[in-house]
């Protein structure tokens, strides 16, 4: 069998049904040529590994789990100390500390007991723009932008929200990076693979 003939048969074999339970073994003629041909052999081996799948399971280096345990140390995860690794902002801005929201109940902010004022604060020193986007503003990114008047990296806004309702929200950084509030006590799936923070007041 020439390499050209082998290639044609190889393609025919791979083009067959690969559904679960299919026989992963290849025709003897493919095997025989593949074993003796340095050009075709690696392709056959690669195909066999991919067809079988589990053979590509990669063993972890010895002692990796022990090294990780040692490096991690011990302790109890505490929500208030959570740091959110920030992955979308370049170099120096890799970390964002989310301080979360501060609920501020203020008498003047109440409207006959129907609304209360909620103060949102987010520390994002490298952000150019921060919005809080939630169901109360119909997820409009332009509706409620936070401000950082003193330039200390803490963005803030006060918003009147209806009392007795559940409010879902996320922060939007620079118009493209959505993050839930890591300090919020409740989170729900947002239907897009992420989570929304939940505020019940």
């Amino acid at each position: 069998m020439t390499c050209e003939q082998w290639s044609m048969e190889f393609k025919q074999w791979l083009d067959r049904d690969w559904t679960d339970g299919a026989d992963p073994s290849c025709p003897p003629s493919l095997q025989q040529h593949g074993e003796h041909c340095s050009r075709c052999g690696p392709r056959l081996q690669a195909a066999l590994l991919l067809v079988e799948g589990k053979s590509l399971d990669r063993q972890a280096p010895p002692g990796l789990a022990e090294r990780i345990v040692e490096r991690m140390g011990s302790g109890t995860p505490i929500r208030s100390k959570a740091w959110l690794p920030w992955i979308g902002i370049p170099a120096a801005a890799l970390l964002l500390i989310a301080l979360g929201f501060l609920l501020v109940l203020r008498a003047p902010g109440r409207s006959a007991g129907e609304t209360i004022v909620v103060r949102f604060e987010l520390q994002a020193p490298d952000a150019r723009e921060v919005s809080v986007v939630g169901n109360w503003n119909r997820w409009n990114p332009a509706a409620q932008k936070l401000k950082d008047p003193d330039g200390d990296g803490v963005w803030e806004i006060e918003i009147h929200l209806n009392k007795g309702e559940e409010h879902q929200y996320q922060f939007l950084i620079d118009g493209e990076n959505w993050i839930p509030d890591p300090e919020a006590p409740l989170q729900v799936e947002d239907g897009f693979g992420g989570v929304n923070s939940v505020l019940q007041i």
């Binding site: 050209e4 290639s7 190889f10 393609k11 791979l14 083009d15 690969w18 593949g34 074993e35 003796h36 340095s38 050009r39 052999g41 690696p42 392709r43 056959l44 081996q45 690669a46 195909a47 066999l48 590994l49 991919l50 799948g53 589990k54 590509l56 399971d57 990669r58 063993q59 972890a60 280096p61 990796l64 789990a65 990780i68 345990v69 490096r71 991690m72 011990s74 302790g75 109890t76 995860p77 505490i78 929500r79 100390k81 959570a82 740091w83 690794p85 992955i87 989170q187 799936e189 897009f192 693979g193």
Partner: protein, 196 residues
């Protein structure tokens, strides 16, 4: 794994999570030891780099540890952990791709065969096995990341279609579609014109 042993494993996971949250300093170690091998395999196949995969496993487990208070105890732990893992690996992969565009050029199949041919002193079969795995990894890396994730989780790590859908947050039908496209992409890679 049988359904019963899976349930037993899930129950052990939940015990470890609850114990960790209650302050049992050693409980999370159970999680680390149990999931380091599968997370490493996942990271290695998604990133294609052993050293980077090691660091990634630690970062994933640290992330899971810190986010443990947000884990809902009525859910299974391992899809939750896998979701954290996949999301973290996606971010690393994005950075890695930006860093290493030139590497893609140098991994053109024909050139690899030449380098195999130039090696001396290795038994042919061993060389082909090693190169076969390298090519399999290249075929994986040539896929769109969505297809690769599905292929790795379903075909290599043996998660069910339902579990893959849960981990990636996509419908089961999409998992099947991506799996089909992944296989087609790898066939195209291995039978492509670069080999003729």
């Amino acid at each position: 794994m049988t359904e019963e042993s899976q349930k037993h494993k899930d129950a052990e996971d939940l015990w470890a999570v609850q114990a960790t949250l209650k302050g049992n300093a050693d409980a999370f170690e159970t999680i680390v030891r149990r999931y380091t091998p599968v997370l490493y395999s996942l990271a290695y196949r998604l990133l294609g780099e052993g050293e980077e995969a090691e660091d990634a496993v630690q970062e994933i487990l640290e992330k899971a540890f810190k986010n443990l208070p947000r884990f809902r105890i009525n859910k299974r732990f391992f899809p939750w952990l896998y979701t954290i893992g996949v999301n973290h690996l996606r971010s690393l992969e994005r950075r890695r791709r930006r860093r290493s565009r030139l590497r893609i050029v140098s991994s053109e199949p024909g050139r690899i065969l030449e380098s195999i041919a130039s090696e001396q002193g290795n038994p042919v079969e061993q060389r082909e096995l090693r190169e076969g795995e390298r090519l399999a990894q290249q075929a994986l890396e040539a896929l769109r990341v969505e297809y690769r994730e599905v292929f790795i989780l379903r075909q290599i790590q043996d998660l069910s279609v339902q579990e893959v859908a849960e981990v990636l947050g996509i419908p089961e039908g999409t998992v099947k579609t991506y799996l089909h496209r992944a296989r087609k992409g790898m066939i195209d890679f291995l039978t492509g014109s670069g080999w003729e």
